[in-house]
Symmetry: C2
Subunit: 235 residues, 2 copies
């Protein structure tokens, strides 16, 4: 895996996490536009489709060093390549998934885990019924063999809650320094390991927050106020 | 489903989305602490476990009207009930999932979709092999029958990309006004429908962003700098 120069690190340092999280959304919208035949995109169009306000889109893209042309907008293909470079997905990221239940299978088969720099190089489980089966193009191996295989850049924990810490320990002992945890379990790792959590129900809870608010507003004004319900469109 | 008063709507309006997204994380950490026997928690402890800085935790919780006691901290159980009320998960949210493949099954069986106000009331698919099977305690029904069933508060799209828009149309025609979309597809809905996206690979991309930066830093200083790698701990 190639390493960047100090210059790249410098330019990356200035991108705040709130922007980093929006970049994959822009990328998806831009890819959709390209597929539909568009070659350029305005910040208003990108904002509308990504459900972000246009000023924020322009600010985010300016952080990548990208500036649209008045009246023409942004070159969609060029913008995608800039986003990919900023996200680091112009590299090769070997990914291992541990826990090949429904979620592990869904991830292994998903587009997001098999494109744009990510490549599933290992699937692991402890169940004899699962070990040896093929998911996508990868044969599930015994978790006990993980340390024998080439070390992945990113380890994904898709096990039940009770197994998550043990699996994380296996991954970090094997040298994995980036862990993405889907199990509903707070994990302990050393200071040199980057750990991020995905909670599949967070958006469900965010939705109930806004829906509650909407019910309250409707009760208040006695009729549906359908404006401004999409949270990310609000000021 | 009960509706709130105008007062509640007023108090909810002030919570920014960035805080809303962190509340489920605090809730999970607090539940973990309760299970381990703790009854109070300091903002520093909560910050450490939620990987957010302590000042932000205090700010977020003050938005709920919750203030810790110096030297004692917050009452964990009380804080959970306040978070639940703010998120609206102290109500009953019937949820329908469409697309009972690996992802739909994983969601249907997940803790997050079966607790804290959420209740799966319908599972739908179009495949004759899947219709009639039981997942969790719910029998999968034909999507064509969805309109005959009681209308869920939230519809979850867990289909392949190509079917997502059609399924969304079926849901909204049946009266569903909140759609949570897991398919990698930008969807069109009317202005009275709240639509949110979940991209399972966003955190993978955020991770590659920070990992790239780390490689760059290491290349720069020729040895591992293990400080400040966890992005949410940075200033």
């Amino acid at each position: 895996m190639s390493r960047s120069t100090g210059d790249e690190a410098g330019s990356r340092r200035r991108i705040p996490e709130a922007t980093v999280v929006r970049l994959p959304v822009y990328e998806r919208v831009l890819s959709g536009l390209l597929r539909s035949g568009a070659t350029t995109v305005s910040s208003e169009q990108l904002a509308e489709l990504a459900r972000v306000n246009a000023a924020k889109v322009r600010k985010d893209l300016s952080l990548l060093g990208s500036f649209g042309t008045r009246g023409t907008g942004y070159d969609a293909q060029f913008l995608i390549s800039q986003i990919d470079r900023a996200l680091g997905v112009d590299r090769d990221w070997p990914v291992a998934i541990v826990g090949i239940g429904n979620l592990g299978r869904a991830l292994a088969n998903s587009e997001g885990f098999n494109s744009r720099g990510f490549r599933i190089t290992g699937l692991y489980d402890v169940s004899p019924e699962v070990i040896g089966t093929v998911v996508g193009a990868v044969t599930v191996r015994d978790l006990a063999r993980l340390a024998e295989d080439p070390c992945p850049a990113i380890g994904v924990v898709a096990t039940p809650q009770g197994a998550a810490q043990e699996v994380t320990d296996v991954l970090t002992r094997a040298g994995v320094r980036s862990i993405l945890n889907f199990a509903p379990q707070v994990l302990a790792v050393g200071p040199d390991v980057m750990l991020r959590y995905v909670d599949l129900s967070i958006e469900l809870q965010v939705m109930s927050f806004y829906q509650s608010r909407r019910y309250a507003e409707e009760g208040d004004v006695t009729r549906l106020r359908s404006v401004g319900l999409s949270p990310t469109r609000e000021p």
